[in-house]
Amino acid sequence: MTSRPDIKDNRIDKLFARCREENRAALILFITSGFPDLETTRELLPVLEENGCDLVELGVPFSDPIADGPVIQKASTVALEAGATFPKTLDLLREFRKNSQMPVILFGALNPYLVRGLEESARMAVEAGADGILAADLPFEESGEFRDLLAARNLHLITLIAPTTPSPRIRRISDSSTGFMYCISYKGVTGKGGAEGQLETVAREYIGKIKAESDLPLALGFGIRTPENVRQAVDGGSDGVVVGTALIQCIEKAKAEGRDVKKVVGEYVKGLASELSRKA
């Protein structure tokens, strides 16, 4: 029996239902709000969608994250210097929402929500058009209050699963979770190493282990950089594939080389999106 909150009319649920019908996985992209500046993020959100992104994890920058790798940490630092606060991130989302129904979740640390009050944060998030929140340092056991506050507004609190999470705990987490579960593919921080080459095997075993405990859509993240990686993750059974660090690096490199960031990012995303279909 699950004790899942009842969430109605949420874009994330519709997305995964559509992906099932289309027999494909969802492409989930992480982008740090305000990296390298707010204007770039504002311009890039539609570019991601036009080129096949299904869901955006909009990173709310935080100065002292735990378990972010150096690339995303540095992006957060740059974004904070560029003035990318939680309210400014919501401004970006609100503007994007005028012309788009692509699901967006806010991704970051718990403290920005906590200092404002969880209820006020939930209110602000739904008002701006978010579909969920992922607070990376909020453990499942402590998440009840925030989950209920979000669910009351039909927003998902997205939970994380790690390779070290034991099966009974996966089941417990899944039984209270909604939307999808973000499954971290390997031990380590964001943007480091990964299981390249054997990714498909790793994904198959890992996703298989979680599927045995959960009926929720599963998104695989960490170490996915290329269209080949996306293919491996999809063939391994993932319902969604998350790319983060590699996208930040793509933006950074295009900027540094003075190239058209929208064009470079668009092509990169299109490449990732070309490998989402499931083999018959």
Partner: protein, 413 residues
């Protein structure tokens, strides 16, 4: 449940002291912390473990250290008797070694061969490297590149003890970046690696464990004052950064409701200047580095930059148990400025022939004020958490730069 060693309440199973503490970490870290928590629960009251720990505390650290009556300072202040708990006389010169020895013994029982730690000024790094040398552990110390330059002598000390010091080049190249890199190492290598945390902060079980490995300070002080005076002190005083020396002194007095518990925070250049690290005095409840406590943060929840003349007190959060003491009224938390701490640093050297760590000088500064306001015959126990040799060069530099003036006593007469 209460702690047999201190008599006061333990955190609950999830590490909560009232509304403070807990564990706010990504899922990759949860099993790592569970393993440490289970080991701590298994060995905290284990006879063999404690026999070995106590042997090294006695023979290697030199415990119990004295509770010293500052007769001259007491007469000078004209009030309460001032006793110092002499943690500065421990091997390596501070209370830090109590904790690193306890944790290294735990790591040994977990079968870990590799110890990692972060350090700011280098004191915890040196204490960690010392324990690792003694127990043949590979030792990796993460230290911000800027800190390695500021504390070159401590880097050499750690290397002398066989540690590898990694100069962290990311971000602000200071303590918080060292923490990031150490956590990254832990998340990647947890099967072989133990993370040695130096203060009573961080996610559960660290605050409870560090307290456990520091509370012999208060246990000894309690016995010693009873032996010397036949009664409990009226107040116990300690400096609070993360708060490990303070909780070590305070916890065994928790149930002695007649004893005032007073923590002294760094007011830096002044509480109204923005350049301080008085997390309890001016902070709000929030999350920092995986636990809930009083924090100094901006409106977006990002920790604020902090300042103290004492590198060991320079932290925008504070241990959860101190937060709990403050919220429940069991503890009083006050602050003294850089200047007051420096004056106390000099005063203790001149009057008692003891150069205190500049961190401990914060506690001394407040105790001097407090003693003068109290009645003769009343008793204050102050934790002299470390010796000041490490600070002599910094203070000399401040004198040279005209930032601090040494009054030459008696020269005018």
């Amino acid at each position: 449940m209460t702690d047999a060693a201190t008599g006061n309440p333990l955190p609950d199973a999830k590490g909560w002291f009232g509304e403070f503490g807990g564990r706010f970490v990504p899922p990759q870290l949860e099993p790592v912390l569970d393993e440490i928590a289970e080991a701590f629960e298994r060995y905290r009251d284990d006879e063999d473990f404690n026999r070995e720990y106590e042997y090294y505390l006695r023979q290697f650290v030199g415990r119990p250290n004295p509770l010293y009556l500052c007769d001259k300072l007491t007469r000078q202040q004209g009030g309460a008797k001032i006793y110092l708990k002499r943690e500065d006389l421990n091997h390596t010169g501070a209370h830090k070694i109590n904790n690193t020895l306890g944790q290294v013994l735990l790591a040994k029982r977990l079968g870990k061969k590799r110890i990692i730690a972060e350090t700011g000024a280098g004191q915890h790094g040196v204490a960690t490297a010392t324990a690792c040398a003694l127990f043949d552990m590979e030792c990796i110390i993460y230290m911000g590149e800027i800190d390695t330059e500021r504390q070159a002598l401590n880097v050499f000390r750690m290397e002398l003890l066989g540690a590898k010091v990694v100069a962290v080049k990311r971000g602000t190249r200071t303590l918080k970046d060292a923490v990031d890199e150490a956590l990254e190492d832990l998340i990647t290598n947890y099967e072989t690696t133990y993370y040695m945390l130096g203060s009573a902060v961080g996610p559960h079980p660290y605050p409870a464990m560090v307290k456990h490995f520091q509370c012999m300070i208060g246990r000894e002080a309690r016995e010693q004052i009873l032996a010397a005076e036949g009664r409990l002190p009226d107040a116990v005083v300690a400096c609070v950064g993360g708060g490990s020396n303070a909780i070590g002194l305070f916890a065994p007095f928790y149930d002695d409701r007649s004893v005032r518990i007073i923590g002294v925070e760094p007011a830096g250049k002044g509480l109204d200047t923005g350049e301080h690290a008085a997390s309890i005095t001016l902070g709000k409840p929030g999350i920092i580095h995986g636990f809930k406590c009083y924090t100094l943060s901006d409106e977006n929840g990002d920790p604020l930059p902090v300042h103290s003349v004492a590198a060991g007190l320079d932290y925008p959060g504070v241990g959860p148990e101190h937060s709990f003491y403050k919220a429940t009224g069991r503890g009083e938390y006050v602050s003294v400025t850089d200047r007051e701490a420096l004056d106390a640093f000099v005063e203790l050297a001149r009057v008692e022939g003891i150069i205190p760590a500049i961190e401990s000088a914060h506690a001394i500064a407040y105790a001097l004020k407090l003693a003068a306001e109290m009645e003769p015959g009343q008793l204050i126990v102050v934790n002299l958490s470390g010796r000041g040799d490490k600070d002599v060069r910094q203070v000399a530099g401040m004198v040279e730069a005209g930032e601090y003036t040494l009054e030459v006593r008696g020269a005018m007469a």
